[in-house]
Symmetry: C2
Subunit: 145 residues, 2 copies
DNA sequence: TGCTTTGTTGCAAGTTTTCGCAATAAGCAA
DNA sequence: TTGCTTATTGCGAAAACTTGCAACAAAGCA
């Protein structure tokens, strides 16, 4: 378990939300499954332990935990959504359109971009989670450009 | 009509694809409806003229035209997909989450970013059309942050 | 501990998006 | 123009995702 259950629980309760077994199971599942977890994968994982937990709840809880900044929403190349643990430091992805691989981008890169937009356009870009699409080194080579 | 129908038709036929009435209607619809057009909006628009044209075809054609670089896919704030004409001149948007206003971003900004990603991460970012979300000057002020 | 409040869940029905496959028709060549 | 090839469509069904609502149960308090 890489997430601090008690800390997150406390955070939720403090905001007037409840810590339910469903929410804990779903959080554990995302945590275990890694970096770009689809709702369906979460459902499969969780359903083994709690067969009555519904798909609707999975979707609702994923949304909810994202709003609470406990999870982060990730755009996949095909437009679908996936989730991952948010962590204290926002991070970003370079998503390969060919092989769907993810490359992590340090927050500092985006902070610089954000500052630039702010000063030049007076626009506050939300850089809590950003994904860029393109082609990784491997796929670029094999494409034989 | 801001798109060059004959040129696009020629491009498609040259690649071995066919120019169907459905494809033309859908292209026209996206073109008329402007920036960030949802599949449903396209369907509504097109359905008035061609009631038998199915939703499946709308989705398929939008996807297809995106692959052909005739349309560009844009991620909306809520994770949903929208489309817009790709055009020869790449353009980018700063989208305000509060008032939905669009601010155009010069391509040069993104080109610099692209070069940085290429040299630092050996990743070729697709910067043909990018949207960033956040808050414009007006909404930032009125929010009283 | 037991009661109360009200945030959450599960179900089922409702959207949105995709898929398989037979029928159709675009483009090409004669 | 006619016919052939096969890309593309439409349909219906399935998958993916959302929503309304009644029942349930987490937190807080007596």
């Amino acid at each position: 378990m890489t997430h601090n259950t008690t800390e997150i629980s406390r955070q939720l309760r403090k905001s007037g939300y409840r810590v339910t077994p469903q929410r804990q199971l779903i959080l554990d599942a995302v945590c275990q499954l890694g970096d770009h977890v689809t709702p369906e994968a979460v459902y499969d994982q969780v359903h083994r332990i709690a067969p009555t937990l519904s798909r609707a709840t999975v979707y609702r809880v994923l949304h909810f935990l994202t709003e609470q900044n406990i999870l982060a929403m990730v755009h996949m190349a095909d437009g679908r959504l996936a989730y991952e643990m948010a962590g204290p430091e926002p991070h970003h992805h370079l998503v390969c359109r060919s092989c769907d691989s993810l490359l992590e981008l340090p927050h500092s890169v985006l902070l610089a971009f954000r500052r630039a937009m702010d000063s030049q356009y007076d626009f506050e870009v939300d850089v809590s989670h950003v994904s860029f699409f393109g082609h990784c080194a491997d796929c670029r080579d094999s494409a034989g450009a």
